[in-house]
Symmetry: C2
Subunit: 597 residues, 2 copies
C-alpha cells in the first residue's frame, strides 16, 4: 500500500457541508492501489454501555471511487450526520488484503485499541448553516454572454470618440476606437434573448481614456462614449424584462493614472491626501522620472504588473476600502446590477474581499461574485469571498484536447477530474466556465478556423458542471488572435455571419436551458468507450432518476459506442429514437442521449 499518497484534509474540499444537513467526504489514494475504502463514522458524543463500559456508537459505509486521475483515485461519500456533528476515519484495504486505519493521527493499526481513542478520528465538529458555501441559485441555470462594449454595436453614433473608425473596417490595434456603446447593447437585447442567453458579463464601462477601460478614471461615471447613467439604467431594466442578468467588471486592484487621486499624488507628492491610497516607495511618481518607465521593474510604486498607467490601490487603507465598497454597493443600489466580476482579484487582499462580500450581499443577497483568478483559487472560495472564479484551467484542458490535439482522452479526463476535485461541489456548481475572453485568443482562431472543432468544444463546455459563457461573436464565427485581435467588432452583417454556427449555438443553449438542473447539479460519470485511439469521450450526467449521456468523437473516423443494456435511449440532439444498444457517432461529431425511465 502506498501510504505516502493517501491524503485527506479535514474541514476542506475533502470534508465540507454540501447543504445544512449533508456532509461530502473525500479521500485520495494512489491510482489503482486501494481496493476498498470503508468510512467509519458517528456522533463524537454518542456512546452506549456495553458490559459496563462506554463504547462509541459508530457506523460503517463503503465509499465510492468517484474520480481517477493519472496518479490518484478519489473516494467519495455523502452522509447526513443525525446530530450535525461528525467523527470519522477511513479503513483502506489494498489488493493484498492489507488494511490500515487513517485518521487525525495519521495511520494506525486497524484494531480495537485504535477505535477506542476518539482523538484518532477526524472531526467535522458541527454543521453551521451560516458557514455553508452559498451561491445564488439563478447562476446555475444561467448561460452567460460576455460583451466587450467598445466592439459589440455602435447604437449611438453621436456618442463616439473623435477618431472613431468605421465599424469593422480593420483589425483592431491597441488604441483604436470603433464606437461601440450601451445603446448598441440595448438594441441587441432581443437578438440575445433569441439566442437564449440569460446573463451578460460586461467588460468595464466606467469612465476611462482607453478602449478596454481597465484604467478607471471615475468609478461613479459611465464612460461618456458608452452612454450615461440613464442609458445604463435602461439596459439593466430592459435586460431584466427579458430575464437577462447583468454583471459588471470591477477593477479594484488598481486605478487609472488619469484619476483625480493619482493626479493629486503626482502633483502634491508627500503632501497629497491620496498618498496612502497607493503603495509608494519613493517620490516623484511621475512618468519618466525616478525609474517610472512603463514596463520597467524600477517603478517607484506598485502597479498592475509594471504598468505606469495602472497604479495599485492600497486596499488595506480604510479610506480606499470605504471608497471601493461604496462604489460596489452604489451600482447595485441605484441600478440593480446582478453580479460583479473582479479584475486581478488575486492581487487584492483577502481582508478587503471579505468586507466586499459582506457589503454587496447585504445590498442584494443573490448577487454573484466572480474573481479573475487563473490559478488554483481554493483560498478565495471558502464561502466568504467569491462565489466563483473565471474557470481558465477548465478552458485550457478543453483546448488541449478538442482544439490543439495536445492531449488524449485519458489525459483530458485526468485533468478535469483533478481540477474538479480541488474544490467543493458547491463551488463547481457555480463555476464561470469559458472557452475564451478579451484576455485570450478566440477559440475559432485557436482552432485555425475549424468550426467543427469549435462546436465540439462548446458542446463539451455546456455539458460540464458550472455556468457556460460565450464570448460575443463566437456564435457567428468571429475570430481573432491574442489581444488586441480578440476584440474585433461584432459581425452584424448577416452575409458575413456564420449562420450555421448561429443555429448550432442556439440549439446548444436551448439544450442547456432545457436540462439546466441536471447539467448544473447532476453527477458526472465517465463511461467505457472501447476506443484505443483515445479520441472518444462517453459520460453521463445524472440527477435523481434523470440522466443524459454525452458522446464526443474527436477522431477521424466513425466511432461505435456501447450503451448500458438496462436502459432505452432517445437521441435528443438529433431527435431520434435509439433502437439498439450501440450508437455510431461520426468523425468529429457528438451527440446527446436521454435515458427513458
Amino acid at each position: 500500500m502506498e501510504k505516502s499518497a493517501i491524503y485527506h484534509q479535514p474541514c476542506s474540499s475533502y470534508a465540507y457541508p454540501y447543504d445544512k444537513e449533508t456532509m461530502h467526504i473525500k479521500v485520495r489514494s494512489k491510482k489503482d492501489d486501494i481496493q476498498s475504502v470503508v468510512f467509519i463514522y458517528g456522533d463524537p458524543y454518542e456512546n452506549i454501555k456495553v458490559d459496563g463500559e462506554y463504547q462509541w456508537v459508530s457506523h460503517r459505509a463503503e465509499m465510492k471511487k468517484s474520480a481517477t486521475t493519472n496518479f490518484h483515485d478519489y473516494w467519495f461519500i455523502a452522509i447526513k450526520p443525525e446530530y450535525r456533528r461528525l467523527q470519522y476515519a477511513f479503513v483502506l484495504t489494498d489488493s493484498n488484503g492489507e488494511s490500515v486505519f487513517y485518521g487525525d493521527r495519521d495511520f494506525l493499526p486497524n484494531d480495537q485499541v485504535t477505535f477506542s481513542v476518539p482523538d484518532n478520528f477526524f472531526k467535522f465538529p458541527y454543521i453551521h448553516e451560516i458557514d455553508l458555501f452559498k451561491t445564488p441559485e439563478w447562476v446555475k441555470s444561467t448561460v452567460w454572454y460576455q460583451i466587450f462594449p467598445e466592439r459589440f454595436d455602435n447604437g449611438d453614433p453621436d456618442r463616439s470618440p473623435e477618431n472613431v473608425l468605421p465599424w469593422g473596417s480593420k483589425d483592431p490595434d491597441r488604441d483604436d476606437f470603433f464606437g461601440g456603446d450601451i445603446q448598441g447593447i440595448i438594441n441587441r437585447l432581443d437578438y440575445l434573448k433569441d439566442l437564449g442567453i440569460s446573463g451578460i458579463y460586461l467588460n468595464p464601462i466606467f469612465k476611462s481614456p482607453t478602449n478596454h477601460k481597465y484604467d478607471t478614471l471615475d468609478y461613479y461615471t459611465i464612460d461618456p462614449h458608452f452612454g450615461d447613467k440613464e442609458t445604463f439604467r435602461t439596459l439593466v431594466q430592459e435586460a431584466h424584462k427579458r430575464g437577462i442578468r447583468i454583471m459588471l467588471d470591477a477593477v479594484f486592484n488598481h486605478i487609472g493614472s488619469k484619476s483625480k487621486q493619482w493626479q493629486d499624488v503626482i502633483e502634491n507628492e508627500q503632501k497629497s491626501v491620496y498618498k496612502d491610497w497607493f503603495h509608494i516607495h519613493s517620490f516623484p511618481v511621475r512618468d519618466g522620472e525616478n525609474g517610472n518607465f512603463d514596463g520597467k521593474p524600477s517603478l517607484s510604486f506598485d502597479a498592475f504588473g509594471f504598468t505606469t498607467t495602472m497604479p495599485k490601490l492600497n486596499t488595506a487603507n480604510s479610506e480606499v476600502q470605504n471608497y471601493l465598497l461604496d462604489i460596489a454597493t452604489y451600482w447595485i443600489r441605484e441600478f440593480d446590477i446582478d453580479g460583479w466580476r473582479l479584475d486581478v482579484a488575486n492581487e487584492v487582499d483577502h481582508a478587503f474581499w471579505k468586507k466586499f462580500h459582506q457589503a454587496v450581499l447585504k445590498e442584494k443577497e443573490d448577487l454573484y461574485i466572480v474573481g479573475e483568478i487563473w490559478h488554483n483559487a481554493w483560498n478565495w472560495l471558502q464561502g466568504d469571498e467569491f462565489h466563483s472564479v473565471m474557470n481558465y484551467p477548465l478552458t485550457k484542458s478543453i483546448i488541449n484536447f478538442f482544439i490543439e490535439d495536445k492531449i488524449d482522452s485519458s489525459q483530458l479526463i485526468s485533468s478535469l477530474n483533478g481540477h474538479f476535485m480541488k474544490y467543493s461541489r458547491n463551488v463547481n456548481e457555480a463555476a464561470f466556465n469559458l472557452l475564451d475572453s478579451h484576455d485570450t485568443a478566440r477559440i475559432l482562431t485557436l482552432a485555425k478556423g475549424d468550426a467543427q472543432k469549435v462546436k465540439q468544444a462548446l458542446a463539451f463546455l455546456f455539458a460540464q458542471t458550472g455556468s457556460p459563457c460565450i464570448y460575443y461573436g463566437t456564435e457567428v464565427g468571429l475570430d481573432g488572435g491574442n489581444d488586441p485581435l480578440c476584440r474585433k467588432c461584432m459581425i452584424w452583417d448577416e452575409e458575413k455571419q456564420d449562420l450555421d454556427m448561429l443555429q448550432f449555438t442556439k440549439k446548444l443553449i436551448k439544450l442547456r436551458n432545457d436540462y439546466h438542473s441536471i447539467l448544473s447539479q447532476g453527477s458526472l460519470d465517465w463511461l467505457e468507450t472501447n476506443d484505443s485511439s483515445k479520441k472518444v469521450l462517453h459520460f453521463s450526467r445524472e440527477l435523481g432518476n434523470q440522466s443524459l449521456i454525452f458522446i464526443f468523437n474527436h477522431g477521424d473516423k466513425e466511432a461505435s459506442v456501447s450503451l448500458k443494456e438496462d436502459h432505452s435511449y432517445t437521441d435528443i440532439w438529433n431527435s431520434k429514437e435509439i433502437e439498439t444498444k450501440k450508437i455510431d457517432v461520426p468523425a468529429q461529431g457528438f451527440t446527446v442521449l436521454k435515458t427513458k425511465s
Copy 2:
C-alpha cells in the same frame, strides 16, 4: 519517482508569508524518494527581451530537506520576492536522475515549453501585510500556568460554598467544593512570580452552580464563591505589576441551563424571547420531558454533547452575537485581561469567531486568542480567528514517548515533524503547549508517579517552539487521574510538596526565560544519536548565530552522544564546560548545551 506522494497547496501552510517580505514555501515528497528539489521563482510580470522575444526572468534555488516523517520528506525554502509577487514551481529529481516539473497544472516535462507558459506555475499573487498571520509578540516569551480556581487556594474562607470541604481533605468528587477563590490566587502571586511564570490561564470564573463553572449562569458576574469584580480587578492589576498576564476561559458554545435565558425558554417555550438563542427542535425542553434526559441522544435541543445542563447557543443569531461580543470586550475594556481561551471552540461557527477576532483585537490589539481544539485545527488558524489552539497532539506525542513508552524516538520525531508541518511557522511559534489540563489525567499519574519521567517530559515541552503551560501543582508533585481527580486541591504544605520538583521547575522556567527568543523562534534540527535502542533524542535549536543543543536519554543506561567537531560547548543545564566532542547523558537524564561562538 513516486509522483502520487508529491504535494503542494498554494496559499496554505505550504506557501505563506512569514512576515511582510518573506515567503515560506514547502513541498512534500515520499520519504527517501527525491534527491533534490530546485525552486524556480520570479515575479510573474518581469520579462526581458531575448532575441526579440520576451522571456520570463526566473531564478533558481536549492530547497532544503527540513523535516522527515515515517512516510514523507518536507522540503523548505524562505524567499523575499522583490516586488511582493511570486510565481514559482518545483523541479524534483530522484536518485535515478529522473526530473519533473511540478506546478499549478501538476506534473509536466522539465523543459522550455513548460517554462514558457506562466499558467504552469503556482502563484502567491501579492504579499499583503493585512493578511499576515499575526500573533501577540509577548506570547512567544510567556510561560503559562493554568489554575482551576476552586482548587488553587482558599484565600477568603468567608467566600466559600455552604458545604465546603476542608482543603485537600479528600480526593474530589464531581460535586465537591473546597473553597478556592480569586483572593487565593492574589495571595499566591509572589509564589508564581518566584516560580518564574508570566501568564495565568484561569478556568471559568463567571457565575455558575458547579465547581468547574463551564455551565455559565451569568457572564457579567464573577462567581460569588470566587470573589467579585473588585477582587478580580485586583488580581489583574497585581498580576500585571509582576509582569504576569491573565487569560480567561470563554464558554460561548453553550450556556448553563440555570441562566435566565434558558429558564425563560423552559417557562415560555415558543413564546420565549430567547427561543432563537438556541437550536431547539421541539418543545418542551424541560429536563425529563420530551426525550430530554441527560446524556441521551433523544434531546429535543442541541447541547454540548448530550448534556441537558449545557444547551448550545445559536451563534448565528445576531442577538446572541451582540451579547457574546459585548461580554468578550467588556472584560477587556473594564478589567484589562490579556487573553481568551475559547471552550469547545470547534463547535461554534467560523462566522462568529471572525467577528470575535475583530471585536476583541479592536479592544486590545495584542490580546491572545486560544481555541480549545484537540484535532487538526488548520481552518481556525488562518489569521482571522484564533492565534493558537490547545496543542494536545503535541501532548500526546510527548506522553507516548516519555511517559508511556509506546513509541520510539523515530516515531516521536515523525509525529512531531508531521504535526508542525500542518501549520505555518507563525502558528507554531504562538502555540499553547501543555502536558495536561483539567480535561486530562495529570502527567505524574500517567507516569505512575515517576518524577524523573515528568521532568524529562517537561524539559522536552519547554524545548519546543510555542509557549509551554504548567498545570497548577505539577511543580510540587500534585497527581490525579481523569476528571474529577485531576482537579485536586493545590498542595501548600511544604512538607507534602515535592521540593525537588519545585526546584527543577524553577530552573527549567529560568532556562526558558533566559533563552526565550531561540526557543520560541529558532529552527529545530534533529541530530545524529548513534543510538540503536531509539531512546535518545538529540536536537539543536538555532536562531541567528546562537544555538542550543538538547540531549534526552530516555533509555536505561548512560548514552554517549557525539557533538559537532567545529564548535565548543558549555553545558548550561549542569553549569560546566564540555572539554571533549562527546557527551555522556545518564539514563533517564537530559542536558542542554550552548555552542560558544
